[in-house]
Symmetry: D2
Subunit: 360 residues, 4 copies
Amino acid sequence: MKNTFGTAVSVTLFGESHGSEIGAVLDGLAPGLPVDEDFIRHQLSLRRPHGKISTARVEADEFRIVSGVFEGHTTGTPLCIIIPNTNTRSGDYSKGLPRPGHADYTAECKYHGFQDYRGGGHFSGRLTAALVAVGAIAISALRRNGITIGTHISSLAGIPDRPFEDIEADLETLDDLLFPVLSTRAGEAMQAAIEQAAAEGDSVGGVLETAVTGLPAGVGEPWFDTVEGVLAHALFGIPAIKGVEFGDGFGFSELRGSEANDPLRVVGGKVVTSTNRNGGINGGITNGMPLLFRCAVKPTPSIFRDQESVDLSTMKNDILSLKGRHDPAIIHRARVVVDSVTAITLCDLLATRFGTDFPV
Amino acid sequence: MKNTFGTAVSVTLFGESHGSEIGAVLDGLAPGLPVDEDFIRHQLSLRRPHGKISTARVEADEFRIVSGVFEGHTTGTPLCIIIPNTNTRSGDYSKGLPRPGHADYTAECKYHGFQDYRGGGHFSGRLTAALVAVGAIAISALRRNGITIGTHISSLAGIPDRPFEDIEADLETLDDLLFPVLSTRAGEAMQAAIEQAAAEGDSVGGVLETAVTGLPAGVGEPWFDTVEGVLAHALFGIPAIKGVEFGDGFGFSELRGSEANDPLRVVGGKVVTSTNRNGGINGGITNGMPLLFRCAVKPTPSIFRDQESVDLSTMKNDILSLKGRHDPAIIHRARVVVDSVTAITLCDLLATRFGTDFPV
Amino acid sequence: MKNTFGTAVSVTLFGESHGSEIGAVLDGLAPGLPVDEDFIRHQLSLRRPHGKISTARVEADEFRIVSGVFEGHTTGTPLCIIIPNTNTRSGDYSKGLPRPGHADYTAECKYHGFQDYRGGGHFSGRLTAALVAVGAIAISALRRNGITIGTHISSLAGIPDRPFEDIEADLETLDDLLFPVLSTRAGEAMQAAIEQAAAEGDSVGGVLETAVTGLPAGVGEPWFDTVEGVLAHALFGIPAIKGVEFGDGFGFSELRGSEANDPLRVVGGKVVTSTNRNGGINGGITNGMPLLFRCAVKPTPSIFRDQESVDLSTMKNDILSLKGRHDPAIIHRARVVVDSVTAITLCDLLATRFGTDFPV
Amino acid sequence: MKNTFGTAVSVTLFGESHGSEIGAVLDGLAPGLPVDEDFIRHQLSLRRPHGKISTARVEADEFRIVSGVFEGHTTGTPLCIIIPNTNTRSGDYSKGLPRPGHADYTAECKYHGFQDYRGGGHFSGRLTAALVAVGAIAISALRRNGITIGTHISSLAGIPDRPFEDIEADLETLDDLLFPVLSTRAGEAMQAAIEQAAAEGDSVGGVLETAVTGLPAGVGEPWFDTVEGVLAHALFGIPAIKGVEFGDGFGFSELRGSEANDPLRVVGGKVVTSTNRNGGINGGITNGMPLLFRCAVKPTPSIFRDQESVDLSTMKNDILSLKGRHDPAIIHRARVVVDSVTAITLCDLLATRFGTDFPV
């Protein structure tokens, strides 16, 4: 299975950047969940480029729900959302030179030249719009069950945001921010760094940090279908993500066990941990504490500086000068994609655990 | 599927730390691959505890191949290896207090008290012996096809090893090291740090760095079955791994696109990249360069210091004092587990790509 | 996974009978296969109702290929085909009484009343149009590799067609027949039986028999992914199919081993069997002889006679009188659906065996 | 996945007829289910050859539970059962001539000569002992939840058993029968037919009919994961099964819709059908009526008559004369295998529907 992910709840993704439409099929979601098209629109708006720090290609994202919704609720059958591509300028792209950092060369190796190369084709970040559209329904479904997901840019170009403090309140703050940071000052510095990179024809990367509250304990599996493994599998599907860590992640390498182990205690009749360095997961299974993870986002590979590449038809070295419309940073736009993929994956884990009527 | 992983080539893991036997079934491997029991023994020896820096529980790991091998070669049918547990001291364990950082509490939530709690039961690192045994066959199979895997401790307790330089030569060096580092001096400092932690009843974590050479370009899928996603899924199944990053991983967050993009060029009639910050993968698909990734390994949660825990029968706070035999560090032993899981996963990706006769 | 089937090559189906559109995503097909829209149209025409023996609801089936095709060839990425529903008369349907023999009552149990009940919703045979559209591409792909699939009505309402004789020639004959039988006379009798049933407000069932030539030996797996098991899994997904048998199938029950075993012999340097009672499969694996199987098709459950049902809102017995447009037989239309599902499944089995570049 | 089947509950099978041991891993079963080793022994005894109508190779089937059971209950982690092969006479087998009707030739094609050919190797019916052992636990688990499975020989060598009448009572009758028929007289005739065939060095086939009572309505999926499709997939994994039909199955071909549709009515506040021609499934989903299906079992291919075969080393036609110990019929022994595979598959479907704590 290649462009389908999930077991009890699964998502299938299709389309190309410069094709007529893109879309996604979300299958296995419980019947009877209310579908709020305004919320889908809201989520898509968080992904859409805005202002100077994003590409000038702005898509209306006029989605339509083709199946799986009846009288305003999910039916429980496959829910397909289609989004037309309208603002394509295919002339900006030619196949000649593979772009460094992109999938152009690997697509050539895998598809033997038959891939749709325009705008990255099937590899384009454009397809994440479809993930966001169906993800919105998963996010709503989880919220009805007391499960909230939120993500901020924890660092960009070396500039750190403040860490999560009061997670519930922080997640609420993040909800409507187009540039999702917890510290306004850090956000301004980050945006200045993006503009600076853009002015130099360059791009920047960063780290996204996600928190999920309200997850029940006992979800996930030992060994292979750990919550970490399943989530990471899905998250690495998002273009530009090159690292995923849970809790203290790579920070654990400098800790001792006495610091890394989260002490258990009873609070209000419930077992909790007084720290959460393990990010809400032990042995691959949720422990009821907030799920915490971070994704490394590499700088957008499309830049306006000359780059070394190879003319695959002649097998000669050449210089690539990109034209077109590109993002000097995509991390702020990737945030809602991470939330969406997380929501879909958690719906899968929860429906696997509690059956196909979950989330209710 | 819970304790089975993979599609074209899959592994199923079973057993408990204090049960009679543990084992693994490796299915889908091509027929006709030579099976070298000495190499399996060698690999198991790399995982076995040695000296002061490891637990005193040493298992003979007298494996037996139950199926799938005939006249010294794989048959192509499920290959099951069983390893008896001999050196168990179940009396060292009682169920009372869940150990912080372990899966004890989450197992209780998931299995409602029916789990075998002795020595961590099914969650025990002991089961990795079975992964190493079947993984040895996958590693051999890949080597026959020119694909080499190796891992070193890139940092431990804040002490860095030198990075990979000449990867092929470095991998050869690592092969027989019980404590896998590239710099002898760094290795000595690391072992001293482990002994120091052990003396204080504590434990240390670190980072493992893996390289794979010889992979063909064009393996992996866009979106969900990216090489990153599939490998990370498997790697997070290894106990104590809390982060996985490819290429520069989290380091990308401080780079610009002009630094992060690996320039393409032709060398010897072949397309290569002059740097390898993307770790041999673009768009989820191998590009023919060495595959590079790092795993964050948290400190062993079993420590000899008093820890806060909860008596689940009374739901009262309590203090846990661990006895038994534990590792002050498992990272050097986890190395061969990472190699094994990587080999199995790559066999899966390659057999998916090239068919069930691969590797040959 | 619910509405997705397959591993190396998979199909995802979505839509409802009275929704705006239906569609299917075919993923994993090799890149570079020519896509012939006329052939898709031809295949859809074989499924479309014709004349007195079918429903009066005729859909134009104006499909569009949304993704996965570029410059006339498959790209290797997900190929989505969308077909609008145009000729819906939703007023013909109300939810009140579940129709005997249909999925109405079971859908109510499963989806708790949220299903789109109009025209059978997601369960409608209408969705098979999408399967036929993507199946056409799989059929073409197999033909390029010398693999031909064909199906005839081997019996209907007790009237038998003649069996396959010269399979290659018979398959060619069947290609363009709207009513697929090998004996014209049998076909006329069958059609008369359908008209008779229709005149009485009733419907008829039958048996479809399929042959596939050109399959290589050695495809399929022992135990669970037998060719029989995988194909049957897919075929039972087709509405109204209630039995699947391979080779002599249920006829084996009256044979002795000496009759049932197909003798092996060498012909033209190739191992063949002199009979083919096992339908081209031994031990779940193809033996290079034609694949032969039969599907039992139950009579269309939509009939115009009064039927006993239950008003689920009052839980009282009631009498159902159906209106609307229905087929007195669907077996002749189901034929191309069987061919399509078979082709998709065989592409999956072949790509699993020979890798993702197959079929070429 | 090849020798693993299932999603929420899965089974992995390994071993060869003449290897040291065979075994199966049953994963995903809920924790806390009592494990009754006597019942496993009882089930194995139903599969073991008895008297003149079976092979003289009798195995003690001294199984051991290696994992997944603790203090008499399932833990919820993988449950592995191992059964040693003791009574092997490998000398009875040589590789030379592939046996008609067996997997010898297809195994050669698939495994390129590396398969363990002794006694059919991995294809041997011997492996069904491991399925029966783990299946016993699934059968017990379902019974605790009011779900009962039973199978009789509905016909053998053309001799019919009486059909199910009072299903609950009939299933109870079948429980302890070594030769599972509802009519004693039919059973005697069948056994005489087997002995007659044996005397002539031949073998017979038949049909097994299974009923399952107590299944809740609303289990299964439309399109691909229909109850029919999933069960058939698993059942075709059992050696010698060449056809599977649900309800009236192939008998539907001679019915009209007015006969085939099961009228719905309310009885005791519950919706039932007054007939059950659809075998408890509509639209792929259970309707709460007994599940009914039949499996065609071909005659054992091992017979003592001369058969045509091919010497694969010389590619010359040759005559095969089998020696060794073989069953003139395996249908009575296959019965408990069908029950076991059915139980495992239903546990999977139910755990998928109701979550991993089901069956309780």
